[in-house]
Structure formats: C-alpha cells, structure tokens
C-alpha cells in the first residue's frame, strides 16, 4: 500500500521540516509526516480523526489535546517485545518506520463490538459493580471477574522481556528550571546570566512552550525566533545544561527532583549502547516551576465526540504543526484566550462557522474578528450538544442567549473552558493548591522549600507577565543560590487579557456529557455519587474513578469538583481538589530500575577462589550477595548428593579444603577492645590469652541471639572477630553502635577486614600434613605448639604472610588459613597440590553444612531471630558476672520458659527415611493441629558417616527428651515419619578428633 497524501497538511508554515518525509503506520495504514511532527499531528495531517476508544463504554474518541494531558489518543506504540501500551499520540515524536495501533477495540477502531457497552450505560453507572455480582459466591472468580478484567484496561503490555536498556544519573545545580516556555527560558537566562549553574528541562522535544503554538511577538521578533535566540544563548553558556525530552515528574524531600529523559524514544530503536530512557535525580539548590497551564474542558452533551478539541491544541496543530484538525470549525470559549483561535484559523484558511461565547458581552474587537472570519457569533450562547460519528463531528446544538436552540454544521469544535496552572509539582510534598476567583483556577499554595512558581503556572496568563516573572524569579533563585544577579531587562510583549467567565457544565444537554473522558465519567455519574453520599472529592474520585486514568484528570478534575460543589451547595475551594501525586506523567517501570535487572539486579560478590572453583566446574549458590561453591561435581556424578557425600567422606577420612572467606571479619584494636567484646558477647573475652581463639555468641538487646562466631586475640590490644556470612554488615553496624552511641569512652578501633583475607578451611585427619607442606618450614604447627583453639601468624608458599587458626566447624582436625586475598587463587591451588597425596578434595557449602549438622553447631537456620541462647544450648556461656547486651531482657519469663522449643538432634526411626527441614513435630498419635505443634526441624543432612539422615530441630523442652519418639509431620511434601530425639552432636561427641 502506498501512503495517501497528507490531505490536511497546511500548504505552508509550521515548525516542521518539510524537506524530509517520514513514513509510519497507524492500524496498518501507511502514512507520512515530517520531522517536527508528533504522531498526533501527523495523524491529523493525514485526516485521521478517530484515534482511540474509551475505557468503559468504548466510545470513539479523537485527539483532544496537543500535550501530555491527553486522555483520548492512546496507542500501542511499536510491536513485539517493544510494544508500549497507552502511549499518548500527542507526545510521541514521529520517526521513520513508526508503527502504532489503536487500543481497546475489537475487531477494529472504526467498528468496535464492545461499543454496545454504551447502550448498557444506564446500568454501568458509577459504582455499579459494588451493587451486584455477589451471587453465587463462586461465580466471581470464574465468571464475573474475568469478564470485568478483560473489558478493563486499555492497551496490551508485551509478554516478552524489554529488550532496551535504561540508566539512572545524578545531577546537581544551583537553579533547576522546570519547563522551557517563555517563562522558563527567561528564568534560565536570568539565572545563567547571574552565573548560576542552571538545568533547564522540558518534556517537549523542542523548547518554547506556547511560543511554538501561538503567534506571539517578543521584542519585535516572532516567538519562535525569540526562542531560538534564547536557546542559542543558553547553549553557549557552559554552566547551563539543556535537557529536552525530559519531564520533571516528581518533587521529593530536600529539593530532590525526579526527571525522565527520553533518550532514544524518538528513534525506531535506541542506537547501540544508548539507553532508551534515563532517570535523573536532580538535587537543586533552587527550582523554578515554569510548567505552564493546561486548558480545560467544558462539560456539554457529546463533548467527547471525535472532532472536539481544546482550542489551544487546535492552535498548536495549526501554528506549530501546519495541520488542520477541521475545515469548518466551531469555537466554544468562555474567555479571551480562546479567541486567538479565530485569528489563527483565518490565517490558515480554516473556515470558522460559529463562535459561541457564553459571556453576555464580549469586547468589540472580538466581534469584529468574528465578522472578519465570517463566523456566526453567539454571544451569551452555549453549546449544548455535539453530534457526530466515529468519523467526525457533524453539527453542534447551540442554545442562544434568548433560549432558542440552533444547529450549526461543523466538522470540528474548539473548546476553551479556561486554564489550570500546572501546580502538581508544588503539591508532591503535601501542600494544597489554593483557589483564585479572578482566574477561576487553583494555583500553588505553600510551595516546597526552595521552589518558586512562575508564569502561567502561577496563573499569570499573559506573555508579558510570564516574561517578567521569568526574569525576576530566575534572578532571585540565582541570588538565593549565592550569585549576584545582573540588572534585569524584560523583553517587550503585547498585552493580553483573560476575561474568563467560569463555566463548568452546560445544562440541558440531551446526550451524554463527559467529565473524565478516558474513564468515561459523566456529569450524571457525579450526580449519582452525590446522591449516594460520596460527596467528598476523594470519595467522588474513588467512586466514579474521576481523574484516575492515565492522564490523572488534567483536563477534567476541576470540572468534576465544580459540578460536585454546585450539587452540594459548597464553594469550589470548600470542595477542594484531590491529592496530586508523582509522577506528573506516567514513567516506565524500566526507567526506575535502570541498570539493576537480570544478573545486575544486585551486586555479586565473588570469593578469592572463584575463578579456580569455576575452572573445577563447581556448582555455585547465591548466599546473600555472595556466590559460593556449593559442591564440586566430578565427572560422572549426576546428582548433588553423590558429590556431597564424596566430599564429606573425604574430609572425615582424609582432608578437604573449603573457601570460607565470606565469613565476616572485623579487626578490633585498642586498649578497651576486650571490654567491648565482653559487653557484646554473652561470654568473656578480656581474659582470653593472646594466641587463643574463643567461640562467642552475641544477643540483641531484646535477649535473642543475633550472631555467633569465633574471635581470636592476636595481641594484647588486638582481636579479630568472625561473624556469619549473612550478618557481617549487621554486626559491624552493631559494634559501631555499641562503641559510638553506648560507650564512646572506650578506646576501641574497628574496621572490617572481610575482604582483605582469603580464608580456607583445611579439615580432616590429614589437615596438618597438608598444612605442613605449605608453611614456612620453620613454623611449628604441632598439636603442642598450636593446639585446638590456637592462632598463630605464619608465612606460606614461600613468603606469603598469613594467619593460621586452629578452629573447626566440621569436627575434624582443622585449620583456617588466612592469606591476603590476592593470593587466594594461588594458595588454593597450592593447597590442592599439597594435599593431593592425601586425597584432598575441595568441598562446598553443602558438605560444610552436612558436617556442621553432624556436629550440632547451630547456624543460619537455627539463628532464626526468635531463639535465645538457652534455646540453642548456649545457656552455659551466659556470663553471670558481667553485663552484656541482651542480658536483662533474656530473663523475661517468656524467654526462660523450659517449654520453649530448644535445640535437639533427630534421626529417622526407620533409618531409610529422609528427613526434611520445615517438618513440624507432633506427639506420636497426636492429631495434626496447631495446638499439638511442638516445634520444627531446622536443618537436615544425609550423613554419609552414619549412612542415614540426621537433623537438628527446635522442639519443646528438647534437651530433656533425648530418646523420645515424635512425628515429623510435613504435609506440604506429603511426609509424615517417626523420628527419635537425640543429642544434636552426631559425630565424635567427646570432640577427640578436634584435638589430635
């Protein structure tokens, strides 16, 4: 198909680049446009009136606005994995190859079966679903809800991962100017001239705001020329950052602003390495909000018909985009500004059939203008109903000042109900806008610290005041940020008047009159809401969904609350607005995530031996942020248990090595290091001899175990503490709290050395033999010289300085060898070759877990944040002689009750049974019920040494029930077996092997 000519493109004018033609498709139809077009302007240029269907009634809808306030013209942009639902055609910058599709219709936009909903509209009124669909109960999920869900929603999201990338960035400035219309440009110029570092953002792809869309003259130049000069000056200033296509979407605490830059959205696909969008977090000393104002609707019958358009939007299409939305236009305006449309239409050759102005007396100049345009003038008139089809408008019914109704044939109607200053960003921190009677609009009330509002956003609706505002507030902002402003000069511009007569809703409409277009909220819905008691604006909003659509009611809300005000006899300010919330316009979820998706969701921490382990084919597991080797499968081993059993057997029978560098390590120095440790651990450390290691447990202040680990005394005034992998940061924070907040008088210095050391556990009967081959030959690591729970410094592999701890998690003769992390890779290779003759294996976290369970050491699953030291069998460690964190609260009756679940071992009565962590304990024969619940299995392992499963668990009064049998009940995995309670230490209970 070849594209049709751009039938509604004006022959000349506009800020489009006619030298290049761009091809695009809408609903499969090929069309063309030019650089500088939006999708909406290109559709208009191609004579397309119908752009979308509404949410509830599937009403045909045209293009209403020319900006981000658009409620109607929403499309699915792009296709496949890049499909973007609900994209406003009015904000899409046209690019070559653009593909868009209309939404919420079937089979086609022109003929939509669901438009029968419109016939059912007497039933589908506000809140109808709260009143029905209650019977029978089961039908909700099966029938009603799927139907409702299918009918709801507009576009379709892709089901494939988003192929584009996003990023985030920070920016800092003296003055942030939000909006680059005449006000914003002037504010930026004025701040920049004072020397301030300025960021100017505009959501449009071109600066200029209304200057692009109106026939303004500034300092004798056209608005567009003045703007070009202003932008040029700003571009030349290195202290100014100009950000086009950047919406400031939210104001947050302490002058932090969120902004979205659409970096690649105007391209078919982003260039290589180009993010699609960038989320800016801008910290500004001062901010000037110059976001302009949004023109609002008037509520009359059929006001949603395709062909009805905001007057300012119509001028945008005509002046900026050189596209004619209509050929025979009606204009319905309650203010002077709307009249600009007449002059612009005359210039563009669009016939103005009629001007309907409800004001009883209009200025003479306008009367002349109407005559010049050959338009019928209905002074004091009202448009009651607009009639048309999906293809366009046919006529309007005008109620004259004398009460007659006349029909006027038109194919378009421009409407201006006045202007709402864009105050949203002033309200994000909780302020409320205030009503101004003179302009019949809400303006900013209190503004957030550091933010000022300027131009049309303050209700200054004439160019002169806008420019003056910009000059003044830009300079003041710069001054407040510490600069000296230069004497301001305000460019000259002609005078403008507003002369608005408030008009919210036309009475006597015969057809549906819409307030919220996208959500199909009619004036009648508001009446029903009022009748049913939903009178607060917030109730009104929620009951009718007014203002809850993708446009957040930018063109609709004030009409809605004005109608409610009239119904309840309250004033508009008494009625109030609903709450403005970020984002100002919707922001892609991907942009908030930036780089942090997929594997980059969170940083990954790699152990010093990672590369080596990967070479060995290790299976890795996520342990918090760490990746750790879980087991090392050997060729032929297909299931994890075989590998793990082999690793355990090798350690218990010969020797194995495991990277335990992930354990937290904290270097603690100072004269009072021991005192601090005494206060954070339940047991004592100040009396620990130098060269010794001790196991310790620490509590939270509420008496529950926080963490455990070993701490070694390296010197009189120096210890090194180890923490569990999971709690490393938390313990560091806790120690800093204890030191800085509780006991600042102590002479203690602490720093995390977790990353400094590669630490390997070398365990098994041949551990010493292996170590011996690695270390400085002069070093003595005999049982005498370095007994169990000793520590010494040594050098290994011919000169690498290290620390050797004689500690054991596995229950075997074991050492932990710490070397500077850069040598981790080399040292594990050296350990493997040193141990080769003894049959050394590398073992992973699984085997480590098996052996600690066999030894009954509590770990993560037992340190569950609710267990006390006594529960875990550590009660004996709790010193009676000193205070320590958690001591007092640990004595609360609820924590000392002997019936509390406490640590015990478990074996299956039928030794072939498998144990499962998470199974609950019930008395034999007890009915499975919550009241019979005695505790649960915390950790299990298959013990290759014992050839059956063993488990640890917390069970009521556990330590006193060894030998008793209970049920391990596990209905979620269909398990229900008998287990015997036993000592939690399954291997070498006397600990002989540790000490050899």
């Amino acid at each position: 198909m070849t594209p049709l000519p751009q039938s509604r493109r004006l022959a000349s004018g506009g800020l489009i680049d006619r030298s290049r033609t761009l091809s695009f498709q809408f609903d499969g139809k090929p069309m063309t446009g030019h650089p500088g077009d939006t999708l909406a302007s290109a559709l208009i240029a191609n004579g397309t009136i119908l752009a979308g269907r509404s949410f509830k009634y599937h009403r045909p809808r045209g293009i209403l606005t020319a900006g981000s306030e658009e409620p109607n013209a929403l499309v699915e942009l792009r296709s496949g994995a890049r499909r973007e639902p609900n994209t406003k055609a009015t904000t899409v910058e046209l690019f070559d190859g653009l593909v868009a599709r209309s939404q919420n219709r079937w089979p086609s936009l022109g003929f939509d079966v669901m438009s029968v909903n419109s016939l059912l509209s007497p039933i589908f009124v506000a809140g109808f679903y709260y009143k029905t669909f209650m019977w029978p109960a089961a039908f909700w999920e099966k029938l009603y809800e799927p139907l409702i869900r299918r009918a709801a929603g507009l576009g379709r999201a892709s089901r494939e991962p988003d192929p584009d990338s996003y990023e985030k960035a920070f920016a800092f400035c003296d003055v942030l100017v939000i909006g680059g219309g005449p006000t914003g440009l002037m504010a930026a110029l004025s701040a920049a001239r004072a020397g301030a570092h300025v960021i100017l953002c505009d959501e449009d792809f071109s600066f200029g705001g209304r200057l692009l869309s109106e026939q303004f003259v500034i300092d004798g130049q056209s608005g567009a020329d003045w703007k070009a000069a202003a932008v040029f000056e700003l571009e030349q200033n290195p202290a100014v950052t100009l950000m086009r296509r950047t919406t400031v979407f939210g104001g947050y605490d302490q002058s932090t602003y969120g902004a979205l830059e659409r970096v690649g959205d105007h391209l078919p696909v982003p260039l290589p390495h180009m993010p699609r969008q960038r989320l800016w977090k801008i910290v500004a000393k001062r901010a000037v909000l110059a976001a302009g104002a949004v023109e609002r609707q008037i509520v009359f019958g059929g006001n949603d018909r395709p062909g009805v358009m905001m007057a300012s939007a119509l001028r945008s299409y005509v002046n900026r985009f050189a596209a004619a939305p209509a050929q025979r236009l009606g204009l319905f305006t309650n203010n002077d500004d709307g009249w600009k449309t007449v002059a612009d239409c005359i210039r563009a050759g669009i016939k103005v059939e009629a001007v309907i102005d409800p004001r009883p007396a209009i200025p003479e100049a306008f009367r002349q203008l109407a005559i010049q345009a050959g338009a019928r003038l209905f002074e004091g008139g009202l448009v009651q109903d607009a009639h048309g089809t999906a293809r366009g408008l046919q006529s309007i019914d005008v109620m004259t000042s004398t009460g007659r109704t006349e029909s006027v044939a038109v194919d378009g109607l421009a409407v201006s109900g006045g202007w709402n200053p864009a105050v949203a960003l002033t309200c994000h921190l909780g302020a409320r806008p205030v009503w101004r009677d003179d302009i019949s609009a809400f303006v900013a009330g209190d503004t957030p610290p550091g933010l000022v509002v300027a131009g049309a956003a303050t209700g200054a609706f004439d160019l002169r005041s806008c420019l003056a505002d910009g000059v003044r507030l830009g300079a003041e902002a710069a001054q407040a940020a510490g600069f000296t402003a230069v004497a301001p000069t305000v460019p000259a511009a002609s005078e403008e008047t507003l002369g608005l007569m408030p008009l919210w809703k036309v009475t006597g409409a015969r057809t549906k009159a819409f307030v919220d277009f996208q959500n199909d909220v009619t004036a009648k819905d508001i009446v029903i809401a009022e009748r049913e008691g939903f009178r607060s604006v917030e109730h009104l909003k929620r009951y009718t969904t007014l203002g809850m659509a993708t446009d957040q009611g930018k063109t609709a809300n004030v009409n809605g609350l004005a109608i409610m005000a009239a119904l309840t006899g309250r004033s508009i300010p008494e009625t109030g607005t609903t709450t403005f919330r970020p984002p100002y316009t919707p922001v892609a979820i991907g942009a908030f995530a930036g780089h942090h998706r997929g594997k980059h969701f969170r940083p990954t921490r790699l152990t010093p031996s990672h590369a080596w382990a990967a070479e060995q084919g290790a299976q890795f597991v996520e342990a918090g942020q760490w990746l750790r080797a879980q087991w090392f499968p050997k060729p032929g081993e297909t299931d994890w248990l075989t590998s793990v059993n082999r690793e355990v057997i090798a350690v218990r029978g010969a020797v194995g090595v495991c990277d335990v560098s992930t354990l937290g390590k904290i270097d603690i120095q100072g004269a009072d290091a021991g005192t601090l440790l005494d206060r954070v651990y339940i047991n004592g450390f100040s009396a620990l001899p130098v060269g010794k290691v001790r196991y310790g447990a620490m509590l939270r202040e509420d008496g529950i175990v926080m963490d455990d680990g070993t701490t070694a005394r390296l010197a009189q005034d120096r210890y090194v503490m180890s923490t569990t992998t999971a709690n490393a940061a938390k313990v560091m924070q806790h120690l800093e709290f204890c030191h800085q907040v509780l006991w600042p008088e102590l002479d203690v210095q602490m720093v995390s050395v977790t990353e400094q050391w590669a630490q390997f556990s070398i365990a098994g009967p041949r551990a010493r033999d292996t170590i011996q081959k690695l270390i400085d030959p002069m070093a003595d690591v005999s049982n005498m010289a370095l007994p169990y729970m000793g520590v010494t410094t040594i050098t290994v592999c011919g000169g690498i300085p290290g620390r050797l701890f004689r500690i054991s998690f596995s229950g075997e003769l074991a050492y932990e060898l710490a070397v500077p992390a850069r040598y981790g890779d080399g040292v594990i290779r050296a350990i493997m070759s040193a141990g080769a003759e003894y049959g050394i294996v590398a073992y992973g976290t699984e085997a480590l877990g098996v052996m600690r369970i066999e030894k009954g050491h509590p770990a993560g699953n037992e340190l569950n944040g609710t267990a006390t030291a006594r529960d875990l069998g550590l009660g004996k460690l709790m010193s009676q002689k000193k205070d320590f964190i958690g001591r007092v609260m640990a004595e609360r009756s609820g924590l000392t009750n002997p019936d509390r679940p406490s640590l015990a071992g478990f074996v299956p009565v039928n030794r072939a049974d498998r144990l499962r962590a998470g199974a609950h304990f019930l008395g034999l024969g007890a009915h499975p019920s919550a009241s019979n619940d005695q505790g649960y299995m915390t950790s299990v392992a298959f013990s290759p040494s014992l050839s059956h499963w063993v488990g640890l668990g917390l069970i009521k009064n556990g330590p006193n029930r060894h030998g008793e049998r209970v049920r391990a009940y596990d209905p979620v995995r269909r398990g229900d077996i008998e287990v015997e309670i036993c000592s939690p230490v399954f291997i070498d209970p006397e600990g002989g092997r540790l000490r050899v």
Binding site: W135, G155, G250, R531, S536, R597, R973
Partner: protein, 416 residues
C-alpha cells in the same frame, strides 16, 4: 435499599433517581454506648460487628477525614492467611473465612478475589522456611502448597527464570489468598453498620479523652465532646498520637509504606506474586492497573508519602522478576502511615484506662485482617475479654517476652 442485579436494573430504568446514600451523614450525638475512633476498615468493621454480633447499636465511628482516607484506602489489597506462628495463624484464617462470606453478609460487592497468593523462594533455606510455614498452615487447616520451580513456571511463565540474580527455585502458594477491593471494604462495612444504626461521623477528629479516676467518659473532638461508656481506638498509623492523648506510650513507630499503580492494561498477571528476595510484590487490579509495592521507606513519618529510593528499589525488584513490565508505566505513587509494632504483630487489648480499648500495630498487613480484627475487637469491647483467636495480641507481651515475631527481627519496627 438492598443491592442486587435486580435493584440495579430497576434503578437504571428510573434514571438512578432513587438511590439512597450508602450511609447517613450522621451528626454527633451527646453520648453513645461505644465510640470507635477511626473510620478505617478496622473501625468500621468493629462497629458493624458490635451491632450485628452483640446487639450494641448505639455506636458511633468518628473519623477525622473521610472514611477510608487511611490505610484501608491506600493498600495493595492482598489478603491471605499464610502465617507462621501460632499466635497469628488462627486469627488470619478466621479473617480469611470472614472474607469468603463477607459480600453476602454485608450486601456489598467488595470483589473478594481468591486468585491465589504465590510467594517465591530462591534458596534451599527459603524453601525450608516456606515448608515450615506451609506445614504450620496445614496444621491449622489452612490451604498451602509448596511448589517446585516448574509448577511456578506454569502459573507465571513470564517470570525471569533464565537470567535472574536470585533464580526462582519454587514457591509457596495459598490458593485461597487473593485480593479485595480496598475502598469497597470501607464503604461496604460503613453501609452495613449504618443500616444497623451505627452513626458514621466524618470530618470529626478526636483531640483528647475524658478520663475520670481511670475510667473513660468519652472523647473530645473537633466537633465537641462525645460521651461514651466504652471507647475503642482503631486509628492504625496514628495509634501513638491517639493513645498518647490517654497518657500511653506504645511499642509502635509510624512509618510510611508506599504503593504504586501502573496505567491500566489488559490482563497480564493473574495471581498475587511476592518476590521476597527482591522486596517486590504485585497483582493486577480488576481495572487493569498493576498494583505493586515493596519495603517501607524505613524512617518515622507521618507525611503519608515516600521518597524516590524506595520507588527505585521496588521497580528494580519488579524488573528483576518480570522484565516484560519495563515499558509499562507507573501512573501514581502514594504512601500510607503504618503502625509498625516492635514485633511486627498487632495488639488488640484493653488499656490501663477502664473502658478504653486498643486496636493497633498492624504494620503493612492489616488489610487482610479487617474482618477478624473488627470481629475480635467488637468481642473485646462488648464482653471485656479477648476473643480466642486474638488472645495472643496482648499489650503486655513485650514486657513478658511472649512476642510474636514472624520475621525474627526483634524490636526494630522498620525491619518487620
């Protein structure tokens, strides 16, 4: 007027001219048998059950703003009873049962949607913890299923199974869990209470309590004194402020939790999915918006709004879990003030003041509790003794050590 398809049709034919207000715009009277402070879900439900279960109809609910302006109107609508600890499971399951019959009971469609709640797990330890939880639920007769990765894939094929930082290993499913339309709960209870004679008084802020000799006499409000023999506080995020007026300090901090909704899209996500490792949970409302949230902002706040880092954090979780939502746009973000208790569990109890009762500490999970909370609080107020399923929610449990700490975080409210 009873709501039904029939009454809707009948009114449609008469231009909807005859609907009555869902609840009367009641003016405060001098005294009531019971005054409930707080027109949120819990307060309104309490008033309804006082009338329905205990025949106490001389009741007022006083609300400082409009009813539903608090957390009941700003939550992510998830209901479930997949709790772990014995103090909690029976209570939340009772709530689940009440949800199941609610709409016919109160004659209001609150869109109780039992679409299933799926919690994902990413490690063996998490799976064991889910097994423990699932088993605890089963022990109390609550439905729970432990799913393997492939079963999760069947339910939600669009999740990131291939390229995840924390690969999905399985999940815990509660098929009866789901969502309920937040506002409808407030309005439905209000209407049902009103029909039984309860006065719902909006724009009436409680500013103090009148207490004599340790006994409650009534409440001071922005609209004058209202006498009452008994007063129940159900003010959620404002619990400390209101209890403070009676001279109490509570084991509670007020924190903001944010929630987010996307633009409306056609059905995409059919269950409730929670991604604990990524602090993200999501469901799709019947209107088509993806409703999602994550962690609390983490500092004391009464501002009812949050900050940007949490938005980023939540969306990072979303993109990590379901990278197809990248181009779906967030429409709105808002916050609610939550009564974060020191053990993450609620309090429904008497207070040191005779006739003054406390309902608080719901954290980010009290929406699902609404029916049972109302039921049990009404029971406590009417009979002056705790209801059996809420017996563990005592105020003195912190002093005695009988805390109910599902997450094991201890006395740090922002970590619950």
């Amino acid at each position: 007027m009873q709501y039904s398809a029939f009454s809707l049709l009948k009114n449609a034919l008469t231009g909807h001219r005859y609907w009555k207000p869902a609840w009367r715009e009641a003016q405060p009277r001098d005294r009531y048998d019971v005054v409930i402070v707080g027109g949120g879900g819990h307060g309104l439900a309490t008033a309804y059950y006082l009338a329905k279960n205990h025949g106490i109809t001389n009741v007022a609910v006083v609300e400082k703003g409009y009813i539903g302006s608090g957390n009941v109107g700003r939550n992510t609508t998830i209901v479930r009873s997949n709790y772990l600890l014995p103090g909690n499971v029976p209570f939340y399951e009772w709530s689940m049962k009440l949800w199941e019959g609610l709409e016919r009971d109160i004659n209001y469609n609150a869109m109780v949607s039992q679409r299933g709640v799926l919690n994902l797990c990413h490690s063996d330890a998490q799976r064991d913890a889910f097994a423990r939880r699932g088993n605890a639920m089963r022990l109390h007769g609550v439905d729970s299923e432990l799913l393997e990765k492939e079963q999760v894939r069947k339910i939600a094929p669009y999740l990131n199974f291939d390229d995840a930082r924390f690969p999905i290993q399985g999940g815990l499913l509660q098929p009866r869990g789901g969502t309920v339309r937040h506002d409808a709960v407030a309005w439905g209870y209000a209407r049902a209470g009103d029909r039984r004679g309860v006065d719902i008084i909006q724009n009436c802020e409680v500013t103090g309590f009148r207490i004599d000799n340790g006994k409650i006499l009534g409440v001071e409000t922005s609209r004058g004194f209202i006498g009452a023999s008994k007063v129940g506080m159900a003010v959620a995020g404002n619990a400390s402020r209101v209890a403070g007026m009676a001279g109490m300090r509570l084991p509670i901090e007020s924190h903001v939790l944010q929630a987010f909704v996307s633009e409306g899209i056609k059905p995409l996500i059919d269950t409730v999915i929670t991604f604990g490792a990524g602090h993200f949970y999501i469901s799709q409302s019947d209107k088509g918006g993806l409703v999602f949230g994550g962690d609390i902002d983490g500092y004391n706040s009464y501002a009812q709004r949050g900050n940007l880092p949490t938005v980023e954090d939540v969306c990072e979780g979303g993109m990590a879990l379901m990278p197809m939502i990248g181009r779906v746009r967030m429409l709105r973000q808002w916050g609610g003030i939550m009564d974060m208790s020191m053990d993450g569990s609620p309090i429904i109890d008497r207070t040191p003041v005779d006739g003054l009762y406390l309902n608080a500490g719901w954290c980010y999970g009290g929406f699902k509790a609404t029916p049972a909370s109302g039921w049990c609080f009404a029971h406590l107020i009417a009979r002056d003794e705790p209801h059996a399923v809420a017996a563990a929610y005592r105020l003195d449990r912190f002093a005695t050590g009988h805390v109910i700490d599902e997450k094991g975080q201890g006395a740090q409210p922002n970590l619950h």
